[in-house]
Every structure is written in structure tokens, then in C-alpha cells.
């Protein structure tokens, strides 16, 4: 596993939920773990919303808001963000903003991302309108690569319909990742799903696919009360 992982994708593909889950899991194995929340595109549903909970676990949280005030973004990125990128003792997850425009902010840190110790991953949610087709995914990958000058090194399937997710959603994402992988040579490295949804699935239908469970840290419980 690479020391620095950059999570990119279309907005709404689940980057922030995945990033928070990744650092929580990394912390179980590593001493120094950091999350760098570089989403400066949108003030809602960012990984920094769970800053306190992550810090309580010993995870270092970096972002551009003023203290814990998640809606007061500074119009600059603090130099402190370089710490987990430069210090090789850190396992670091970089949560980029959505789309190519959200990934643009990665540019100023490119020198940390060029060595072999870093990989940029692309999250695919096959139920998002713009990434429901191979062409849509390719277009997003191409634009993010052009914008950042970095190459996507792995695909993540996170196809879901939140509390309505079924095996079919996961399989749809698997097919999408397979085709994108064939067209680009980028390996499909992982598949994730809400642990509560996995619990309800017929495991046989998953045909041996390894689905890694995630917890939803950013979505409040009351949103499960569908009307």
C-alpha cells in the first residue's frame, strides 16, 4: 500500500466517506495517520465535519477552515498541510474536491505526489448520472488527469443507492470498473459498500467479489427516515 493516497472522483461518488473510513482503518495499523481534506469547492458534507471524532482516534486532520469552524474557509491552504506529505512516517489520505475543478487544488502539491510512494485513485459510483457509463467515467478520469498532471493508478467501485443499495448496484459498478480498466489499463483495486447494506445482501449473488465494508460517518441517522 502506498504511503499517500489521493482520492478523486465525480462529486457525490463517496470520496469523503471513503477517505474517513480509510484513515480510521489505517489508524488501527499505523501510528501516524493523517487526512488532508482539500475540498475547497463546497462547504457541505466534507470529511473535516468529523474532525473531532477523527482526532479523538489520534488521526491528524488538515484542511483550510478556521479551526473547527467548518464553514469559514480561509482563502489559502495552510503550510501545515505539508507535514503529512513531507514526513514519511505518516500514512496519508488526501480527500480532493469533486470533479476536475475540485482536484485543481492538488496542483500546488504535485512534487509530493510524483514519487512511487503515492497513488491517485478514482472513485466510481455507477449510479451518479455523469459516471453511469464507461464514456462518462473516461471523461472524468481524463479531465482530472489533465487538470492535475497526475495519472490515476487505481479504480474504486463505490456504486450505491444509499439505503436502497442492492447486489445489483455493486455488480453494475464491477462491470463498469472492468470495462474502464480494459480501456485504460488502470487496475480496479477495491470495492466498498455501506456495512449495513452488505449485511442485507445475499452473499452468493456477490459471486466472490470482495466488498470492503464502510461506515457512514458524514450522513446523519435521521436521513434514513425516508418520507
Amino acid at each position: 500500500m502506498k504511503r499517500i493516497r489521493i482520492i478523486t472522483g465525480h462529486y457525490g461518488s463517496g470520496k469523503s466517506e471513503l477517505s474517513v473510513n480509510m484513515v480510521v482503518n489505517l489508524k488501527k495499523e499505523y501510528d501516524k495517520v493523517a487526512i488532508v481534506d482539500l475540498d475547497i469547492a463546497n462547504p457541505y458534507f466534507r470529511s473535516r465535519e468529523r474532525q473531532k471524532a477523527m482526532e479523538d482516534l489520534g488521526i491528524k486532520v488538515y484542511h483550510n477552515s478556521f479551526g473547527y469552524d467548518i464553514t469559514q474557509d480561509l482563502p489559502a491552504i495552510s503550510a501545515a498541510i505539508k507535514e503529512p506529505l513531507e514526513n514519511k512516517e505518516f500514512m496519508t489520505v488526501v480527500d480532493a474536491g469533486g470533479d476536475d475543478s475540485g482536484a485543481r487544488v492538488l496542483n500546488q502539491f504535485t512534487k509530493y505526489f510524483l514519487d512511487d510512494d503515492c497513488e491517485m485513485l478514482f472513485v466510481i459510483s455507477g449510479n451518479r448520472p455523469e459516471t453511469s457509463t464507461v464514456e462518462g467515467c473516461l471523461s472524468h478520469i481524463e479531465r482530472i488527469e489533465l487538470e492535475t498532471g497526475l495519472k490515476v493508478k487505481g479504480l474504486i467501485n463505490n456504486t450505491n443507492l444509499l439505503s436502497e443499495t442492492t447486489v445489483d448496484d455493486i455488480l453494475k459498478g464491477e462491470n463498469l470498473c472492468k470495462e474502464v480498466s480494459e480501456r485504460t489499463g488502470i487496475p480496479h483495486v477495491a470495492t466498498y459498500c455501506d456495512e449495513n447494506m452488505i449485511a442485507k445482501m445475499d452473499k452468493e449473488k456477490l459471486k466472490g467479489i470482495e466488498v470492503k465494508p464502510i461506515s457512514l460517518f458524514l450522513r446523519p441517522s435521521w436521513l434514513q427516515y425516508e418520507l
Partner: protein, 359 residues
């Protein structure tokens, strides 16, 4: 129904509007609704429509006035302080009886306020707004799916009533993600068809009919009184026919929450939690804010406490609740404001305190 997709509120709202035949959008950026103009700027032209980023909300609303006068299906969107800027011409549009749909993704106020979710626009949209005798028909969705269905319907309601119709979502509904099945696309009435199907539109008389004029200034006050009398019955009709609400576990309720929008979902979780403790709680969820669903309160037998659960300091919704309850039960308030949200545990705790208070 189309296959379900995972969509962000704002992008789903814009898509639903296009599917409803909207071809004209005018707007000015403001958080938390920026994805609507962003989406429209990219997509609307693909459907033969027109997107204009105006220089201000005031300019946007007046562009909407013009496009609506010409018979187009027009969408405006903004957030609380931006909607306040539009109110002058929302009154103007109502005064000349034109259909416009407005999405308000509410945020904290007063003034510029905060960019987090709020419901403190209740007064602005139901009793405030612009000057004069008119009403804005207001829908309040609790989910992205419901918002899409309401937006889709709003264009028909706006044309039937020839009046502004507002969809009042809040920042949470605009920004969150949910599975949505989008309503089927309809072809908009365009070009020559407008002359036939929208006889009120300004399409030029061509010496074929009497000239139309939109007039919002009446120097003879008796004529203005007559004019108001002529259009007013549509608001009485709206009060009779447009009230919408949802009842949730109200049948044997002794405590009745009233909550709308995303707050209704928080209240719903509180209802379930309290029911598990044996407390008889229910929820009335207004889907229309104007007309307020007074009919939902016709039978309050056995109800001791009615509690307005809302995101406003003043208890703006509570005032309408009290009017509907007409003294038959005690009316209380559970609220947060300024962009702060309630959470179900807080609602449960504050409900218990209210129930313990000596009457």
C-alpha cells in the same frame, strides 16, 4: 418512472425543471444552491433553452418576468437573502398574473446570515415577500425525490394559477445525496404553440385579436380594487384545493409535532424513538406552507400538546400552527436557528421537558 440514480439535491432540482419543460433560467450565484445555475449553464442550451447569469438577483427576477410574459416556462433559484432581493419583482409578477417557478434553498439569516441550512424564511415566503395583496404558493419538500416531484408539478400549478410558485428547500436538501427517479420529460410549449395554448402571453396581436397589456400601475384606485377583486378568487381556490400534508402516527397521538422540510425527518426519528418509550407522539408534515394545511388540524381529539419543530428563533411556523389549533391544545416550540440543526435526541429531550411542565 425512470431508473433510480444517486443525485445531489440541487442537480436533481435542475434536471426535474428541465424535464418539466423549463427552458429559461436566470440566476445569480449564492451558496447553498450554486449547483443549480452551474447545471443550467451547462445543460439548458442542449435542450434549446436559454441560461443567463444576471448581474444581480434583481436583474434575474426581471428577466424571468420578461420570459414569463412571452409565455416561456421559467425557473429562478436563489437562497434566502437572494430571494429577499427578488421579492420586489415577485410582487410585480404576481400583480400581472404571470407564472414563474422559484427554488429557494434556504440558509441562515437575517441579513447575509450563514451558509448552513435554515427555515427562517417561513415568514418571508408565506406572509412577507413583496408589497400588496397577493400570495406566493409555497411547497416544502422533505426529500430530493419529493422536491423533484414538486418542481415538476409546480410549473403546471404556476400556469393554472398564473402566479409565482416557490419550492422552499433548505441547504440540507439542496446539498445532500439521495436516490431519485426523475419525472418523465415533457415537451415544452414553444413558438407558435404559445399563441394557442397560452392566450394570456404577449405574443403580438397581429391584428387577429385584442391587444394584451401587462399593467402593474393603477392611478385610479377604484380600478385597482376591481382588478384585485377579479383575481383574488384564485387564492381562495388555492386555499381550498392546494393544501397538502402528511400524517405520521397521528391517530392516537397525545403529542403532535408539526415540522416540514429536512426538519420533519429529524422529528420523524424523534417520533419513533418516543413511541418506543411508550409516548404517544405523531407528526403533521406540511407539504405546502402557503396555503397552510389547516385541514390537517380539524380533529385534535386527545391531543394535549402541539409542538412546532423548526429552524427559526421566532417560531415562524408556530404562528400558523397556533392559528390552526385555535386554542384546543397547548402550542410549544422546539427550535434551533442561524444555520444550526436539531438532532433527534435533542428533540426527544426537549419534548419530555415540555410534557413535564405544569400547565
Amino acid at each position: 418512472m425512470a431508473e433510480k440514480q444517486l443525485m445531489k439535491g440541487n442537480e436533481a432540482f435542475a434536471t426535474a425543471a428541465i424535464n418539466a419543460g423549463c427552458r429559461y433560467y436566470f440566476g445569480y450565484p449564492i451558496t447553498p444552491q450554486n449547483e443549480i445555475p452551474e447545471f443550467m449553464s451547462r445543460e439548458l442550451a442542449k435542450y434549446g433553452g436559454a441560461f443567463i447569469q444576471a448581474e444581480s438577483e434583481l436583474a434575474a427576477v426581471n428577466m424571468a418576468y420578461g420570459a414569463a410574459a412571452a409565455g416561456g416556462r421559467v425557473l429562478l433559484s436563489s437562497s434566502s437573502p437572494g430571494v429577499a432581493l427578488m421579492q420586489e419583482s415577485i410582487s410585480l409578477i404576481a400583480s400581472v398574473e404571470l407564472p414563474v417557478v422559484i427554488i429557494n434553498v434556504m440558509r441562515g439569516g437575517p441579513g447575509i446570515g450563514s451558509i448552513q441550512p435554515s427555515q427562517a424564511d417561513y415568514d418571508q415566503v408565506t406572509v412577507g415577500g413583496g408589497n400588496g395583496d397577493y400570495k406566493t404558493i409555497v411547497y416544502a419538500p422533505s426529500s430530493i425525490q419529493e422536491a423533484c416531484d414538486m418542481i415538476y408539478k409546480a410549473f403546471d400549478v404556476a400556469e393554472e394559477y398564473r402566479n409565482p410558485v416557490m419550492i422552499c428547500a433548505d441547504g440540507m436538501i439542496g446539498q445532500m445525496m439521495e436516490p431519485v427517479a426523475l419525472p418523465e420529460p415533457v415537451e415544452p410549449v414553444m413558438g407558435e404553440e404559445i399563441r394557442k395554448k397560452k392566450p394570456w402571453a404577449l405574443t403580438g396581436h397581429r391584428n387577429e385579436r385584442e391587444r394584451h397589456a401587462l399593467n402593474s400601475v393603477w392611478l385610479q384606485q377604484d380600478l385597482l380594487e376591481e382588478y384585485i377583486d377579479a383575481y383574488w378568487p384564485k387564492f381562495e381556490k388555492a386555499e381550498r384545493e392546494l393544501q397538502e400534508w402528511e400524517d405520521f402516527m397521528t391517530e392516537d397521538a397525545e403529542v403532535l409535532y408539526v415540522a416540514y422540510g429536512s426538519t420533519a425527518r429529524i422529528a420523524k426519528e424523534a417520533v419513533v424513538a418516543l413511541r418506543n418509550e411508550g409516548v404517544k407522539v405523531g407528526l403533521i408534515r406540511p407539504k405546502t406552507l402557503w396555503p397552510f394545511p389547516e385541514k390537517a388540524f380539524e380533529n385534535l381529539d386527545g391531543v394535549k400538546d402541539v409542538i412546532s419543530v423548526e429552524l427559526s428563533k421566532a417560531g415562524q411556523l408556530k404562528r400558523d400552527v397556533r392559528l390552526a389549533v385555535e386554542g384546543r391544545a397547548r402550542v410549544s416550540l422546539i427550535n434551533r436557528y442561524g444555520g444550526m440543526l436539531l438532532d433527534p435526541a435533542e428533540v426527544v429531550e426537549r419534548t419530555k421537558k415540555i410534557m413535564e411542565e405544569v400547565k
